[in-house]
């Protein structure tokens, strides 16, 4: 999604109304209870929250010009990788094997076998249509943010085709956009 993404794609940047800001904050707090203690630092109630509209119904949530979350239409908010790297335990994790790393970093969606092979790992609690952190065999930090197409259990048993959509990965356009001026 962010493969060819740059600031030129942003069609409008707006400071949102207080009520919208509250709603965004609440959805993020519900989706990532682990962030609750630092939520005030990340999304201060007093600082303006900017939502940048981008093509394909993509919205970026920014504070002080730094992209922190994104979502599609009214879908769940997902953290940027830079934010996830700081708070790695806020999301459930799936792990791909080493062989899959280069494909994920090229923007490919995540195929089931890359998660079910001995180098991969699945958290059985993960349901379908859930934002997840994509980790990699032998690596400490996440390399992508994914959105599951099937539950972890189905990924294991079906073991075929795309298990997780690759939403955002290291070195894609959003990764390179550390700030949006």
């Amino acid at each position: 999604m962010f493969k060819k993404f740059s600031s030129e794609e942003v069609s409008a940047q707006n400071q949102v109304k207080a009520s919208v800001q509250r709603k965004i904050r609440q959805s993020i707090a519900e989706e990532y209870p682990g962030l609750e203690p630092v939520l005030e630092d990340l999304l201060p109630k007093k600082s303006p929250l900017i939502v940048a509209k981008c093509p394909n119904h993509l919205n970026l949530v920014l504070v002080n010009n730094v992209p922190l979350f994104f979502n599609i239409r009214d879908g769940p908010y997902m953290p940027t990788l830079r934010l996830l790297h700081q708070y790695p335990n806020i999301m459930k994790k799936l792990q791909v094997d080493r062989g899959a790393i280069k494909f994920v970093l090229a923007g490919a969606n995540i195929m089931c076998p890359g998660l079910t092979s001995p180098g991969g790992a699945l958290d059985d609690e993960v349901e379908a249509e859930t934002p997840v952190a994509i980790m990699a065999e032998g690596k400490q930090h996440a390399l992508a943010i994914g959105f599951t197409k099937m539950s972890a259990k189905d990924i294991r048993t079906i073991n075929k085709g795309i298990g997780v959509d690759n939403m955002h990965y290291l070195n894609d356009g959003l990764w390179k956009m550390e700030r949006l001026e």
Binding site: Q86, S117, A121, N171
Partner: protein, 188 residues
């Protein structure tokens, strides 16, 4: 829960900007190398070994062969696997079938079967037969060393030997082994 988590400090590469551990997959590992030797020698110990300026493929291949898979890590048979320049594996292993029960979480497990292909058995075909016989899911998957193995859902380790020797008479019972607690145990 109420405690404030401290943000993790990630070491980002000064050259390509990725977390330093991903430089090897980055746009230009060669350019990152001098920075990595200076700032992250622990991540790429091979860079420090003399031929640090060698080619990236070589280094990443070395990394690959030293990386340990988390799941079945302790129990992999130590075989001489040589990588050819094209990334293909030169097979030097004995004709053996290795059966291992891998626990995926508390109550579920799969039984992996490695090495049937060394007896000229088509893995796809074998996987179908196993699935049918044990009324369960079976699939051919790439193992950690890029070798293919069959994963069968459930613990079937104890019935599988008879099934293999009955179905494929070319496989002697003496060539079938179990991995139990990290040890290789003969099935016969």
């Amino acid at each position: 829960m109420a405690e404030k988590p401290q943000p993790v400090q990630v070491l980002y590469c000064g050259v390509c900007g990725l977390p330093a551990e991903y430089c090897e997959f980055g746009p230009d590992f060669e350019k990152c190398k001098p920075w990595l030797i200076q700032n992250a020698p622990d991540l790429y110990p091979d860079l420090l070994k003399g031929a640090g300026a060698g080619d990236a493929d070589k280094v990443s291949d070395q990394l690959q062969s030293t990386s340990i898979s988390s799941d079945a890590g302790s129990s992999k048979p130590k075989e001489e696997v040589k990588r050819l320049p094209g990334g293909k594996i030169k097979k030097k292993e004995k004709q053996e079938v290795i059966i291992e029960k891998v626990t995926r979480n508390k109550r579920k497990c799969i039984t992996t079967v490695k090495g049937l292909d060394l007896f000229g058995i088509k893995l796809n075909d074998a996987s179908k037969k196993l699935g049918k016989k044990f009324a369960t899911g079976a699939s051919v998957v790439k193992g950690p060393t890029e070798k293919e193995q069959i994963d069968v859902q459930g613990d079937i380790a104890y019935d599988i030997v008879e099934f293999i020797t009955d179905t494929w008479p070319d496989v002697p019972e003496s060539a079938i082994f179990f991995i139990e607690d990290g040890k290789k145990v003969s099935a016969s």
